[in-house]
Symmetry: C2
Subunit: 447 residues, 2 copies
């Protein structure tokens, strides 16, 4: 929230920020047994006592055996470069129904945000006449455009098809490509699945079409799949691009270049503060893989984050209390996301002028709100985007902070707000009702 | 150690790696009270019991009050962008004898390695006819060259003056600049102080000369000061470039652009695994400062690392058990570094053909070793750098791993080895004796 916005609020209103996809910031509790393992790794004297459950102690002992000198305080380079990648590869093979995964193609990183600029910088050709370009979805996370810019690439937006539940529209991508080629050299197609803030989960059919498109257009496919553990509909499960590509068989399976991301922050653990994640490179030339391994600069993620990541990579095991707790946690998280998604749907469906496509995964909804022409003119007079004006008015009147759609980009002439699915249901219900009441009054005011 | 080297060793020899400047990897113990604070932050249930000392519990409570929802599991953006920078600024003011420091010019980062490429990328001009260049010291950490490369800049080496205890030689810098300008555009002078692996600590006089040089040549001064808490000689204390610049007064104090680094990994805590550090920007234009604050991509360091960093920023307070423990830890660390530096000096001084300048700070020594002409020819036949050949022979015969000087760069025609000052003294004594005995035999063998 900008300082100006804060100042303009009545002092009695405590702002209620419902924009974040950070589970813990939205009030979710950490899973105690994960924290117990980490606490014991940090301060191994806890292993001698009765304070921590045996399962946590045992898992901590196993984690400490992976450390140089049994100490999480060193860089522990081998843990990063060999130990965890081997376990990640095993996890991915299981996730993808047996599709093989090579630990050498896995890079443990300090979260997607930190490594994305490096990924983009490896495809940027600074000596070329035209700048390198990356196609990024709109709406989508701002991160990709920012990272492309830092890497010296141009971000070229392509529009998702709102009318088809934010599906990727091949024609829109091709149009964006064609227009871009006059001024830059597009090399990467970035696809976000499950979508953020759009909350769609791609079907196999859409994914196959995307894969054929990148093959035809000779693009690298950058799959931002960080929300993969938040696909909550049984009839629309998350499928990885790696798996779909593999199952399409030759020649695509062995030629399409793919980089895919996994994030501890958006995992069932939701531990953003511990900074960990990985990327997998598929069919990527040695010349691109190598810098990740030799570069001194990239892969030094926090050791404790890697320990949490490693636990998430463990095979499911009902006999193991940690795995059992994780599965229960996962169940509760998916249940609450699905519940909240339905809630958004139901409450907003009753508000004429607001329309929200069913959310299938991720942690945000992105409803469209029609703003009356007088409100648009008023916003223009204030020098504000209309959706920013709406959100500011909402904040001032109610204390609720939603994200203006222009923060993520939106189809031209439309206006949206971004809304987290992570608050407790009672709180979300209240917020949705306040939002729709405010919107009705807003319509009246500007009609 | 390369696989080939490992295989060529007698199976009975356990390799003894003495190259690292990672204190914990070299067997140093973490400071328990720091770990107790972190454990309590990770698993706040520990705050209810008697397991952890009260001082640790209190400090953990204070740290948790800085967190959103009292939880270290979220991103905690404000902690990164406001809370810790304010405390860092206070720390820097105290460190630099009252020189003011502005929190807005401080960027909390995930260790120097991760942020360096960003720093370099901000000065790289991709549209210019000549590539941007960064002057890096030789010998010096490989990191700078690697990071410059990742950012799309050219690394131009300048030689440190071995004969003057590895001081920065202005003439050498000017020569490097002059030669470079035909093929690139040098914009940054990188100075490492205390030096690594060279172990020198710059005098105020040298620093003033460097500052005048960057002003004359219109360069940004990048001060890698990460080893600042490891300057162990009373008569050669660490001075920051920020302080020396300020004390030189106008016009330099308000014009020379400076970026300086601090690292949790090389601090008295030595907690590399927790990934934290910061940089301070001095006299740097808004256009360069801004990207650090708006870029989504950079500043998301591990929350626990930031908590440790924050503790190190606390003002000294004899009444506070944590500060007392830290000061004792610092005393012991500096004492052991100074002791080991003298040990290296004394033992190697007795070995004809080996020469080591007195080490003043940092965690490595970089002795010069004369290699006989027959050994040089032999190395050439094997296609190896002579120092790599020497180190490999040493490893095979004794199991001791030292770093070949070519890893850091060295004056042409000379050969060095890099050696950690962090092992326990008894172990270092043994290693030094084994090294000198092996060297004597090596000389005989190739004489």
């Amino acid at each position: 929230m900008a300082e100006a916005e804060r100042k303009s609020m009545p002092p009695s209103v405590v702002p209620e920020d419902v924009t974040s996809d950070d589970a813990h910031a939205m009030g979710h509790n950490p899973l105690p047994i994960l924290r117990q393992v980490v606490a014991a790794c940090v301060y191994p004297e806890l292993l001698d006592g009765l304070v921590l459950p045996e399962a946590a102690q045992n898992r901590a002992r196993r984690a400490l055996r992976d450390m140089e000198e049994g100490n999480v305080g060193g860089y522990n380079h081998q843990h990063r470069s060999l130990v965890v990648p081997a376990r990640v590869a095993r996890f991915l093979k299981r996730r993808d129904g047996g599709v093989p995964s090579d630990p050498r193609n896995i890079v443990i990183c300090n979260g997607t945000a930190s490594i994305l600029p490096f990924v983009y910088s490896l495809v940027v050709d600074e000596t070329a006449a035209l700048p390198t370009a990356v196609l990024v979805p709109v709406p989508g996370p701002r991160l990709h455009g920012a990272a492309a810019g830092l890497a010296g690439a141009v971000a070229v937006p392509y529009s998702l098809a709102e009318e088809r539940g934010w599906d990727v529209d091949g024609d829109a991508v091709r149009r964006a490509l064609q227009q871009a080629r006059a001024r830059c050299h597009p090399k990467v197609l970035c696809v976000v699945n499950p979508g953020d803030p759009t909350g769609h989960v791609l079907s196999r059919q859409s994914m196959e079409a995307i894969i054929r498109l990148v093959a035809e257009e000779n693009l690298l496919l950058l799959a931002d799949e960080v929300q993969q553990e938040r696909a909550f509909l049984l009839d629309r499960p998350f499928l990885s691009f790696k798996r779909v590509l593999w199952e399409m068989g030759a020649p695509l399976a062995s030629t399409v270049q793919l980089v895919s991301f996994y994030s501890l922050s958006k995992s069932v653990a939701g531990e953003s503060g511990f900074r960990s994640g990985f990327l997998e490179l598929v069919n990527v030339e040695e010349g691109v893989v190598l810098p990740f391994h030799v570069a001194q600069s990239i892969p030094r993620p926090c050791v404790l984050g890697r320990i949490l990541l490693d636990i998430l990579m463990d095979p499911p095991d009902e006999g193991d209390p940690i795995q059992k707790a994780l599965e229960e946690h996962r169940g509760a998280l998916l249940h609450s996301l699905a519940h909240n998604a339905r809630l958004v749907q139901e409450v907003l469906a009753r508000a004429p002028g607001i329309c929200c496509h069913p959310v299938q995964g991720g942690a945000r909804a992105f409803p469209r709100i029609q703003l009356p022409p007088r409100a648009l003119r008023h916003a223009q007079e204030l020098g504000l985007e209309p959706d920013v004006f709406f959100c500011r008015e909402l904040l001032e009147a109610t204390g609720i902070v939603v994200a203006p759609g222009s923060e993520f980009g939106q189809p031209e002439g439309t206006h949206h707000v971004g809304l987290s699915l992570l608050p407790p249901p009672e709180k979300l219900t209240q917020i949705l009702h306040t939002l729709t009441r405010f919107y009705a009054a807003f319509l009246l005011r500007f009609s």
